[in-house]
Symmetry: C2
Subunit: 481 residues, 2 copies
């Protein structure tokens, strides 16, 4: 593995450029061959391709799987396939692990069961579990058959937990010791092993019942006297996680306690596996990326170069919901057509009131959603919180209402109109904050994800209320006087 | 430190409940004392408070600083102050490090220079650097004076780098060795040290010029023969970072290569410090939280219980910008007042066209922003990407346009109107995607953060264009025939 000693990103870009250059060269030469009058240019073309395959292999052979994954993700589908075919080899299960889900599907779709099975044979069970979702059933059966009993149970354990549970993220590369041994014995044991699993910063001390009694930080093997027994050297207040615990909570714990690895236990407290900081980091990244995309109405992570059709399907769901809500909220305007006809200025003022409602509401709900995620909101302080947000809404309403009122007066020199608009703004901001509070808090109380669909429901309500309040007040106080 | 063996989150909630209970009890008793006829109830009140202080201290003494930080963040200002005053002690610099920036300010504001100075004296220089921004100048000077030369240079190095640069996140808890020693010597050296800095998974091998020649994974001290020399046992292809490298890039590298710690070097390649996975995790979390809040128009992380005024200031900036853009985009409607008066249905249809434009544009720009962050977009593939997004926009436009056209026909039985609306939708979606592409890509080309203000600029444009296109087409094809 040849790792970057230039800035890691520069390094990746250089590699990518080089690969693309090779690919372009290949296409060029192929086209030349095709043009060439020679009778057997299929042969020549095959030859050219073979040469380029070799060059690609040389180029990528000493790259870290994660770097190759990056290059594959950055390549358009056709070129990606060429590279993938060129470099595929037994250890490429690692590459499949590193690429994004979307890209992984494009790579696997083109592969034989046989290939997949051989790939899997070079992976740990927790790694196979990561791929399981994307591997076709029949290939998966082949793989299962190739595993021994223990591996199969491990695999099934992991697969039996959802992505939001710790069990789905654990691996089995833990080293367990008994507390009646002395450190000297442990050190010998490790020397015999010859190599420790990655992220081994501590050994797990278990009793006959496989209950975790403590952890033995690796460095204590170096700092403590070899004569000492594990029982004296081990740390007894340590963090452990339960199989069905929320991954999000575990992630927060990893951040709070700066963990590198921690034991995972079942309800009986028996050691089942190990949770490591690298899986947690991947989880955090995936989760936050996902949230950002969902905020923007992209249902799932998208392969930059996936077919237009695929992307379209990925984005229509949200767009259709928006069409629906948008229509619904504008129905109100129809009801007040006569009001608008009598004062057309309303047509240009009411969208503002609606929009501002959406904005303030979103500010509130986003803060609530985040505080809920941090576990900072609870029966104790929720009332104070609501009180604060409402008084804030009142303040905002008066402030923004005043501004809108002034602006519309400047535009239309109609005092009554300005007052109505300003007042409508005040009311709509209050509504917006109420909704912005109640949607996430309500969904949370019902045990649902507070974030899902929050902003879309919110804007639907604030829009229609915005239109409604403006037009109603207008009809009551402005029209036909 | 007493760490949770129930689910870590349950544990925190329990602790919080307990503290709140204590606080309520205290208030109650105080009020009783006040009511009591006794002449010297100030004394009694002081007594009661003292007792409660002790109880609070007992309650929290064996909690991890991060857990105490959580409790403080979850408490309203007054109660937070009470707890903080009760538990303040020398090692509470750690707590200050763990609380969110917003909460840290509330805690520090109430503290004496003296206190802060003593706190700092128990912290590492990189930890002091984290607090520096919130510590008042005069206190900071006191602290600087208390440091020795090396510490002061360390502190200045860190402070001389921005939050987006690796230098700001490094610590100095690295252990360096020479490659001519054998592992036995190293092991002895470590045993003499007695304790290794947290997150020490490898030692850094440097030459006389302090250039990093390799890294020695801690576990090799256990697995390799003590007779072996560092030169043979060390890993020579390793990841190192530069002081001025982007933290975001470093974070991606930590994820790709599953790093726990890595050396940080200056332009000459001389070892300057160490970057650890815990700082990287905090960075990722802060960054992503920040982005989420900015998306929602909350300028900076907010203390749940900060004063209404403070929160208001934090949110008005965005709201005012929105008022401005909203007004700007609706000016267009005024220009077409006559058109609306002749066909008021437009008043309820044009907001839909505008809104849908915003949605599709946001989908595009969000995916672009994310791919830019991943470094997946480059001169090589950007053209293909643009082509794909545009054809997608065309597809979306035809699809959504058709739907809108049908719906409006159902509502108004006016074929011409339906065609105009559907066509306007098609055009606006194309505009939206063009803008959604060009804003982030443009800002990126100019070396600015592609995400900042993207969605607000976008909606401003798509709104006005939405109104404009609908009304223009309407005037051209519908009115006065």
């Amino acid at each position: 593995m040849d790792t970057p000693n230039v800035d890691s990103t520069q390094f990746l870009q250089q590699q990518l450029q080089a690969v693309v250059a090779l690919l372009d060269k290949q296409e060029l030469e192929n086209s030349l061959v095709r043009k060439s009058a020679s009778s057997h240019h299929d042969l020549e073309e095959a030859l050219v391709n073979k040469q380029h395959q070799v060059r690609l292999q040389e180029r990528l052979s000493d790259l870290h799987p994660a770097d190759i994954a990056f290059i594959l993700e950055s390549l358009p589908l056709d070129q990606r396939q060429t590279v993938w075919d060129a470099i595929k080899s037994d250890n490429d299960g690692q590459i499949l692990l590193e690429v994004s889900d979307a890209v992984r599907q494009t790579l696997i779709s083109g592969m034989e069961e046989e290939e997949l099975a051989t790939f899997a044979s070079h992976l740990d069970t927790d790694e196979i579990a990561d791929l399981a979702a994307d591997i076709p059933k029949r290939a998966m059966l082949k793989i299962l058959r190739s595993l021994n009993n223990q591996e199969r149970t491990h695999l099934n354990t992991i697969l039996s937990y959802g992505d939001d549970q710790v069990g789905a993220f654990m691996d089995f590369g833990m080293i367990t010791v008994r507390d009646d041994l002395n450190l000297w014995a442990i050190t010998n044991y490790i020397r015999k092993l010859g190599k420790l699993p990655s992220h081994t910063d501590k050994l797990f001390v278990v009793d006959q019942g496989n209950i975790v009694k403590g952890v033995l930080p690796l460095q204590r093997l170096l700092t403590h006297s070899p004569a000492q027994h594990v029982a004296e050297a081990m740390v007894t207040d340590f963090v452990q996680f339960h199989l069905d615990e929320y991954t999000a909570d575990a992630a927060r714990a990893f951040e709070r306690y700066d963990l590198i690895s921690a034991p995972v236990v079942d309800k009986q407290g028996q050691l089942q596996g190990r949770l490591c900081v690298d899986s947690i980091m991947d989880y955090i990244r995936e989760k936050t990326d996902e949230e950002m995309l969902i905020q923007a109405g992209v249902e799932e992570d998208e392969d930059l170069f996936s077919s237009v059709w695929k992307s379209a399907k990925n984005r229509w769901g949200w767009l259709l919901i928006n069409v629906a809500t948008a229509f619904a909220s504008t129905r109100i305007i129809d009801v007040f057509q006569d009001t608008i006809l009598q004062m057309v200025a309303l047509a240009s003022l009411m969208p503002i009131v609606a929009a501002m409602g959406g904005n303030t509401g979103n500010q509130t709900s986003m803060l609530i959603i985040r505080s809920l995620a941090l576990g900072q909101i609870n029966a104790v302080n929720v009332r104070r919180l609501i009180k604060k947000e409402l008084s804030l809404a009142l303040l905002n309403g008066l402030f923004i209402g005043l501004i809108i009122g002034l602006l519309s007066w400047v535009l239309y020199y109609n005092l009554a109109l300005s007052i109505v608009i300003g007042f409508a703004m005040l009311i709509n901001l209050l509504v917006a904050v109420l909704v912005g509070l109640s949607i996430p808090l309500g969904r949370y109380k019902l045990g649902k994800d507070p974030a899902v669909g929050a902003s879309i429901m919110l804007t639907a309500i604030t829009d229609s209320m915005g239109f409604f309040i403006v037009l109603l007040l207008a009809r009551m106080f402005l029209i036909g006087r």
